[in-house]
């Protein structure tokens, strides 16, 4: 009748399987696809990522040289990263931290017509 007893007693005398999350985090796996970020200096605003994205979370304006991504729409599939011709899109190994407000990642780079080495602005 009490076939579960050994299992729960084993649990009782072992460490908990859960973690007290914000205080204690697991080390990210090397292959994990986490937070998406763009090295805006290298970006040429070709819009490949925006076109390939299955969830259409990326908006690129070639003229204004802006790149924005809605992280709440992004599904972290990594298609944009694979297709980026400049290899300037990357994914970190860990996830974005939970937040209470929606936000959009907005990045402004330099238009590539004029060749200059000015600092990219990030807001």
């Amino acid at each position: 009748m009490f076939d579960m007893t050994p299992n729960i007693l084993r649990n009782f005398f072992h460490k908990s399987s859960t973690r007290l999350y914000p205080k204690e985090t697991r080390q990210a796996f090397g292959n994990a696809r986490g937070e998406l970020y763009n090295e805006i200096e290298a970006c040429i605003f070709c819009r490949t990522c925006a076109r390939k994205c299955p969830s259409q979370c990326i908006t690129v304006d070639t003229k204004e040289a802006t790149w924005q991504c809605d992280p709440f729409v992004c599904v972290y599939c990594g298609v944009c990263v694979e297709n980026c011709p400049k290899k300037c899109l990357h994914q970190k190994n860990d996830y974005r931290k939970p937040v209470t407000d929606k936000e959009i990642i907005f990045m402004k780079g330099e238009t590539k017509k004029k060749k200059c080495e000015g600092d990219p602005q990030e807001t």
């Binding site: 009748m1 299992n7 994990a32 599904v75 599939c77």
Partner: protein, 358 residues
Amino acid sequence: MARTIIPFGPQHQVFPEPIHLKLVLEDEIVKEVVPALGYVHRGLEMLADVRDFHQMIQICERVCGICSTIHAQCYCQGIEELMGIEIPDRARFLRVIWAEIHRVQSHLLWLGLFADAFGFESLFMQCWKIREKIMDINEATGGNRVNPSINIIGGVKRDMNPDMAQWVLTQLDLVEKEVNHLEKVLLNDYTVKKRTVGKGVLTREKAMELGAVGPTLRGSGVEQDIRQIGYAAYGELAHRPVVGIDGDAYSRNRVRFLETLQAIALVREAVSKLPAGDISVKVKGKPEGEVVTRVEQPRGELMYYIKGNGGKNLDRLRIRTPTFANIPPLLSMLPGIELADVPVIVLSIDPCISCTER
């Protein structure tokens, strides 16, 4: 007590997803059932009209959160058939590995939910605790916990190097050990048997007639499993469908439990036979024509009908998920049983409602 109508769902604790069953009861005995769907209908089939056929992979994955890889695999398989692409051997084996890892994950999730349906909280937690190891495998190999997104048209996206494969096997050994600890509980425990044996009986004939699929069909004693067709690399791996006899909730539970162990064995075999070579081929052209393709999902037979018109969008994508096929058998199981057994029987077909409605 007189005739009562119980609104079972759409928001009910036992259902992981919203479905509404109108139960007409007499003295806690179910007399009639009328289902209502449509609470999570997302129109994913229609998205094939506006997204190109490569992007549909990720969308197909999201038809179901639990068997995501297998949906994508089925879709890719269909498109490959349409375009006449032969995928490399290594990719075929890798697809099997990920699909079977997903099956373990899905079955453990189900075993937990099933335990929850008859109020066995600690068993539920135990199953989900074991499942967490599989989610880690998914994340470490595929990149994400739930939707690893490793299938692409023409093969797979990621390779598995020998070190990684070895790590997966050791993790699976741990999982198998823990699953074996649960065998006595799930198949022998007095209270579990009391709640499952003889509940929701679906005879062999009825199962065939009503078009049941997957463990629901096999639990009734029909030896049918789409993996027998030998899609992907299943033709080269040794496996036989797990079959139950009685067709009750206990039998379906037993089938799923044994399939969990079988899936682990299949991963081991696939890893040992993993051939060297490329993992994908270059894809050129656009799909044209129509095709029906099927794979075996943890819940049963999954069918995709794909019609391409030579453009980048598909003409029609039709997804028939296993739960859709299992709802008519469910309706035949419910009348005549106690209210207390309704959750157990509904859960015993492993309902995935967002799959059903897509």
